[in-house]
């Protein structure tokens, strides 16, 4: 690519910068001092909640002045970041919410328009930017039809077209499947090479970026700088400390003890004796699933058995129907054809054996679902209230109508478990916080906790480890392993190869719809010894 792409990289500095959100008592950063030279490629690491996203929002000049208290300065080439629009380009983690316009070309052109770039130059920049990120779509292609990886590359192109001196990527791969991750990684590398811009990447999965980075900065959980140096040397002597802070390191992480002696039985309430049963708890036969009856099928001709005491991983590319399958198994959407049937043991006194026919309260104590987007399932104003929702619904059912789903003392048990869950999932210090104010990782843990609060025997998880730092990842995996060992059946939709490797007893791979591959889902079973 010609020199038309290149801009001088920006110099970035923080001078005694502090930030405290209006609703929190503790500041995120305290007198942060930092210098990044033009053209450096910085990988910014830190535990969940260490304030990485706040810092990048501050550098990008989009941290609202009314959201909190600021002191000190963030400077881009010596100018306050708030007045450096256009010098800094920011790519956010959610591809869905940062597409601005309806057509690819217009979306990329948007930033240039706002910067007052002359029209003829805008389109040169748009074409160059699209070429740089490898998005070879016509300019009038609809942005709604792009995949997640393509949408992220579109966002990157939109940023690149502004010719910024600093490009910030805030967990750009978090919502992408492995193909999407490769796409965006290659695009960023090409962009960095051609533009000479300073690069700041925030990411949990450091192995993606390790080779590209020239410098690694690690934030401690209080927002102070824990380590700062070249990738080759930054880990020396602090590996343990970093792992403790929950930072993903480039080497394979320490193995998770999946069959250690069980902690006191955490979540089984329905009596141990009937817990381990023969035959699958939930059986999907000849399933064709889709979001809407009469709508297109998301996946066809699947058969899947969900057994107690096993982890069943469902993998496959974006668009292969994994989430739809999960919602169907969870008794939330009806099948297009085929059937989902619960064992008599799982169904108990519920209405019939098809989960879709069950009452909402019957479903909740039998099959728990953790949604891909945690925000869809939050109902209340605090973390503790959120966990009380299920037990409350059971209470009401028990007192007003005959035939309680669980006895009142069991409902009381749930209450006690909530404290245990808060501790276990490191949410106790956030018990009174509003769910929407949590970080991405904390939201995910809360959504897992809400499903566990009513002790369902089948747990269906849609991307449960997405956005977790290494420590909470390990804790989640350990928790799932324990639940499995207690006899829970776990189904997890995931792109996380590490999770599959650590935990899955059975793996079902859904075929890629784009390749016209008519083979049905492949299922591989590993012997229990191989996994445990």
């Amino acid at each position: 690519m010609p020199t038309s792409q290149s801009t001088a990289g920006a110099h970035v500095s923080a001078r005694g910068w502090s930030w405290r959100y209006g609703s929190r008592s503790r500041p995120m950063f305290n007198l942060l001092d930092l210098d990044i030279d033009p053209g450096e490629r910085v990988l910014l690491l830190g535990a969940s909640g260490s304030g990485k996203s706040t810092l990048v929002a501050g550098l990008a000049g989009v941290l609202g002045e009314d959201e909190g208290h600021e002191s000190g300065q963030l400077l881009i080439d010596g100018q306050p970041s708030r007045h450096s629009r256009g010098r800094v380009g920011l790519v956010l983690q959610d591809p869905e919410n940062q597409v601005i316009l309806h057509r690819v070309g217009d979306d990329v052109a948007f930033g240039c328009e706002n910067l007052g770039v002359p029209q003829a130059e805008i389109w040169q920049r748009v074409r160059a930017a699209l070429a740089a990120v490898g998005l070879n779509q016509p300019l009038d292609h609809s942005t709604a039809e792009l995949s997640g990886g393509q949408k992220q590359r579109l966002a990157l192109a939109g940023v690149l077209a502004m010719r910024p001196g600093l490009i910030i990527l805030d967990e750009p791969t978090a919502n992408l499947d492995p193909d999407g991750v490769r796409e965006i990684r290659d695009a960023v590398e090409a962009v960095a090479r051609e533009s000479g811009a300073t690069l700041l990447i925030v990411e949990h999965r450091v192995d993606i970026w390790w080779d590209l980075a020239t410098r690694v900065i690690v934030l401690d959980s209080d927002g102070s700088i824990l380590r700062d140096g070249a990738p080759a040397s930054v880990l020396e002597g602090t590996r343990e400390r970093l792992t403790e802070a929950g930072i993903w390191l480039p080497d394979p992480i320490a193995s998770i003890p999946t069959s250690r002696p069980l902690a006191p039985i955490l979540l089984s309430t329905q009596g141990g004796s009937s817990f381990l049963t023969l035959g699958p708890l939930l059986q999907g036969s000849a399933l064709t699933v889709g979001r809407r009856i009469g709508g297109p099928a998301a996946a066809t001709d699947l058969s899947i058995n969900i057994d107690s005491a096993q982890v069943h991983a469902v993998v496959g590319p974006n668009g292969s129907g994994k989430s739809t399958l999960a919602l169907t198994l969870a008794g939330l959407i009806p099948v297009i054809s085929g059937s989902v049937q619960a064992s008599t043991d799982l169904a108990g006194n519920a209405r019939g054996r098809h989960p879709i026919d069950w009452r909402s309260r019957e479903l909740m104590t039998r099959i728990g679902m953790v949604f891909q987007s945690p925000e869809h399932q939050f109902l209340t104003g605090s973390v503790r209230e959120e966990l009380m929702v299920g037990p409350r619904a059971l209470d009401r059912r028990g007192s007003r109508f005959g035939r309680p789903t669980v006895s009142p003392h069991v409902a009381e048990d749930f209450r006690l478990r909530i404290d245990e869950l808060l501790e276990r999932l490191h949410l106790a210090h956030l018990a009174e916080a509003h769910p929407f104010t949590l970080s991405g990782g904390e939201k995910r843990r809360l959504s897992v906790a809400t499903a566990l609060a009513t002790a369902p025997r089948v747990l269906i998880l849609d991307e449960p480890t997405f956005g977790q730092d290494a420590r909470t990842w390990a804790e989640l995996v350990t928790l799932f392993a324990e639940l499995r060992d207690e006899g829970h059946a776990i189904v997890t939709i995931t792109h996380d190869e590490k999770l599959v490797a650590e935990l899955a007893d059975i793996r079902t791979t859904l075929p890629d719809p784009a390749t016209n591959d008519l083979r049905t889902g492949e299922t591989e079973t590993r012997s229990a010894e191989a996994t445990r």
Binding site: G86, A155, S360, F371, E375, H376, L379, G390, A393, T454
Partner: protein, 261 residues
């Protein structure tokens, strides 16, 4: 705008020209309640319809709501319109008279004659082109126009959110209550949740827009120039002619009744 409408020659007409044509036809037909002007306008529109370059299926999908709704407007006029002229039929509170039948025909034709161009012209308009035209030709504030444009894109996301909220509520055990009261309570609480989610989505989008220098002090340029050319002028003239022919015929035949008088 879908792929089916993007190839229509109407898609290349400036959105403001289309807006003017729809407005002229609509306003003129609202001034009278005779059936002649409506019938002439509708006939001319139907003659032009094959030239808009839309497949019959796509056309039907767009027009079905109004084709189905228009006769209902007519039927209610037949039954409840002010009686006058000869009585044709009577039962209980219903009188059918020649006046009410005439009025019903006039109203049915009118709904079709106003609705048809309105729908076709709107469906062949890309929201982005409309925003360009409004901001560049009519000088509406660009912040407002572009904000609205970005919001249009979020509407489809809201439909998906609503569905996921319903499923999540069932999974969380609070979707059981029966009876209208429980249903209304649920509707409100879910509506509120949707509102919260949409505000959050909106604020992420606003951040993304801000990060691309939207709302800065620099004066904005436009990647696409919205041009009101000779073709657009002719299009407006054609629309005015169509309306004029309809009105003139009605006046000449003595059927025109100016509702304001």
């Amino acid at each position: 705008m879908s792929a089916a409408t993007a190839t229509s020659p109407l898609a290349r007409v400036n959105p403001l020209a289309k807006f003017l044509v729809a407005a002229v036809i609509g306003l003129v037909l609202l001034f009278s309640l005779d059936w002649v002007s409506a019938a002439i306008a509708l006939s001319l529109e139907l003659i032009l319809l094959p030239f808009v370059g839309l497949a019959p299926r796509a056309l039907w999908r767009m027009l079905a709501p109004i084709v189905i709704a228009a006769p209902f407007a007519g039927i209610s006029t037949v039954l409840y319109g002010r009686p006058g002229g000869d009585l044709l039929w009577q039962a209980g509170p219903w009188h059918i008279t020649t006046d009410s039948v005439n009025l019903a025909i006039a109203i049915t034709l009118r709904v079709l004659a106003i609705g048809l161009p309105g729908i076709i012209l709107f469906a062949t308009t890309d929201p982005t082109d409309l925003a360009d035209a409004l901001a560049q030709l009519w000088r509406l504030p660009s912040r407002f126009v572009i904000g609205a444009l970005a919001a249009v894109r979020m509407v489809s996301l809201m439909a998906d959110d609503w569905r996921m909220l319903s499923l999540a509520r069932r999974a969380r055990g609070i979707a059981d209550g029966q009876g209208p009261l429980a249903a209304i309570t649920r509707l409100f609480s879910q509506g509120f949740a949707l509102l919260v989610l949409s505000v959050r989505r909106g604020s992420v989008l606003a951040t993304a827009m801000e990060a691309r220098a939207f709302g800065g002090e620099t004066s904005r340029t436009w990647a696409r120039t919205s041009v009101f050319g000779p073709r657009d002028f002719l299009f407006v003239v054609a629309g005015v002619l169509l309306a004029a022919v309809a009105v003139t015929t009605a006046v000449v035949t003595g059927e025109w009744n100016f509702i304001v008088s």
